[in-house]
Symmetry: C2
Subunit: 360 residues, 2 copies
């Protein structure tokens, strides 16, 4: 297969982890006789620095021409501490999501057997957890009108949803549930928000179309609690943009490190794959960033094109690295100087020689 992949490393640890994912994809191409080409683009704070624009036209054009996009991370502490900044790194990411209409953000939360003890949660609580979060990504309070009054004393954001926006992601989530444990949980705040009541109404109306999926409804405050005390009750979670942001990052505690969580952002014509962690500025270029979230995002990219064996091989490599403690410090006590690059090298080696790779 020929794939043209746009690579947007972004800020902070983005470039280091993305480099490992690219390395792994190259090994896959070699092993399976695919032709993957990589075209790099600027985004985020580093794009602002070089072009004044967090999402340069050229980047958009690279992405539009690509079959898929591999995204690193954006963000920078100096912007975080400056609420007055008019141009912000996040606009790069949000702009991409909107421009490419990447409406469904899919975030798997899997408790890996090999590192159950790394979680803050008790082992018995999390063992066998396997949740798929469907987060709406191009609407809601992220993209509704924003206002700041002239005197700077009043600010507002609108959370708006349409039936169509809800339906298109809901169909994907229902289908995913159908092919999994057949349970869908809509998370909303329908006892308070009009937009949540629309979500609830639309999903209730869709239920008969997916008769073998058991649908239930949970308020977001309760979901934030249940995700920790009983994560195994969930199969597919469907939710709006802001709630999905909060719950998916929270869910990383089940896995044991946010450095393991991958995601796919899917639209009708485009697809982007990115770790859910951010730019983690403090860790930049220290070799301590976990590349696995980015590498697993590359596996999701391969899934997207039906390259199942290829994706499976990456995941085997990841499992093996976890098992052998070939991991960055967020997960390691045993060998605590395994660097970002070395983890990538190990998984690359595994792909090249799946039967031979061992501790050396």
């Amino acid at each position: 297969m020929k794939l043209n992949i746009a690579v947007l490393p972004g800020d902070g640890i983005g470039p280091e982890v993305t480099a490992q994912a690219v390395k792994v994809l190259k090994a896959i191409a070699m092993e399976f006789n695919h032709i993957f080409t990589f075209n790099y683009g600027l985004v985020g704070a580093s794009a602002i620095e070089k072009t004044g624009n967090p999402l340069p036209e050229e980047t958009i054009s690279i992405c539009k021409k690509a079959d898929a996009i591999l995204f690193g991370a954006i963000g920078n502490t100096s912007y975080d501490l400056n609420p007055d900044a008019k141009i912000r790194p996040e606009q790069g990411l949000l702009g991409l999501r909107k421009t490419l209409d990447l409406f469904a953000n899919i975030r798997p939360v899997i408790a890996y057997e090999e590192i159950l003890n790394k979680s803050s949660l008790k082992k018995s609580q999390i063992k066998d957890t396997n949740i798929l979060i469907y987060r709406e990504l191009t609407s809601g309070i992220y993209f509704g009108e924003k206002k700041l009054s002239d005197d700077g004393k009043k600010a507002s954001d609108i959370c708006e949803y349409t039936q169509d926006e809800i339906e298109r992601i809901a169909h994907l989530a229902f289908k995913a549930a159908h092919s999994r444990k057949r349970k869908l949980t809509l998370v909303d705040k329908a006892n308070v928000l009009e937009s949540s009541r629309l979500w609830r109404r639309v999903i209730q109306k869709m239920e008969p179309q997916y008769p073998d999926v058991k649908t239930n409804y949970m308020y977001v405050d309760k979901a934030a609690m249940e995700l920790i005390i009983n994560p195994k009750q969930f199969d597919v979670i469907l939710t709006e943009n802001m709630f999905g942001d909060i719950l998916s990052e929270e869910a990383s505690v089940i896995v044991g490190s946010i450095g393991l969580l991958a995601s796919a952002s899917i639209g009708k014509n485009h697809a982007m794959f990115e770790p859910i962690h951010g730019a983690y500025t403090r860790a930049t270029n220290k070799g301590i960033a976990n590349p696995i979230a980015s590498i697993l995002s590359a596996a999701m990219l391969l899934d997207h094109f039906g390259l199942d064996d290829e994706a499976a091989l990456i995941r085997e490599g990841v499992d093996k690295s976890l098992k052998l403690h070939i991991t960055t410090p967020d997960l390691n006590n045993k060998y605590d100087n395994i660097s970002t690059t070395k983890v990538g090298d190990f998984i690359e080696d595994f792909i090249n020689h799946p039967d031979e790779t061992n501790l050396n």
Copy 2:
């Protein structure tokens, strides 16, 4: 001291748990020679049933005349599943908060030594956690304009804040931090929301007024994760209405049961005290509801009037009940038929005879 207390038991388990708190307050009045009078009002689904109105005028008038309000819980599954309902139990609670201008909701999160093992989190993770959450309660997306288009296909909610609304609760939170571990964390989503940027700007400007308080800033998605993996980093958390709802319910996992979390909702002229748990309809009248959140809310009521010894005695009774496993099934394996009423009786007895109470 003479206190006129409005009691709004509400729905579900509200009446049972509130009855225990009232019992405990009566024991305190007796022991310390206070005169507490109790006036009951209707609210929520039970008020709709009897009057058609989730917040009858009479209830408002009882509350306005009272020195403090003890609130139970509202909500009912039949409304939860009907997004079309125009009259809803929650309007009773939200209406009260708004009418009485109860702008600061204070939610303590304490890992009780006696029940550290009840949490889903590892003991080492939570031991000594003591967080005070200040949640803004009368503005934000809860109270901004709500719209549903005529064809029912588009819905929206506005999240709006003013500088004044932020400042008044921030002063309370800064003062609380000053009298505690001197650390304040503002939780927001300033990288995306205009309203969050206003919060961040206002708090940054207030920092110099509280020079001994270390202020830091955290995005809500990260906070949802950090609350679980490193809860001890927090002292006072300040946040807007919706984020506070989510994070405080999530934080209940640290404590081990949501049945232990009390709260105070404070305004300039009124104060209301309520457990953070909801109506828990399924448990109604089974004697399994944990009354401690309501009893600790009564202790916060006493705090509010400077009745420190009285509040301390209630807390001692609660600690003792936890230590002796005189607890409802959410916390108990050992004696699993201790009922709501018996837990209340135990704490009442303890207040009457603090030196004698034992297992019998």
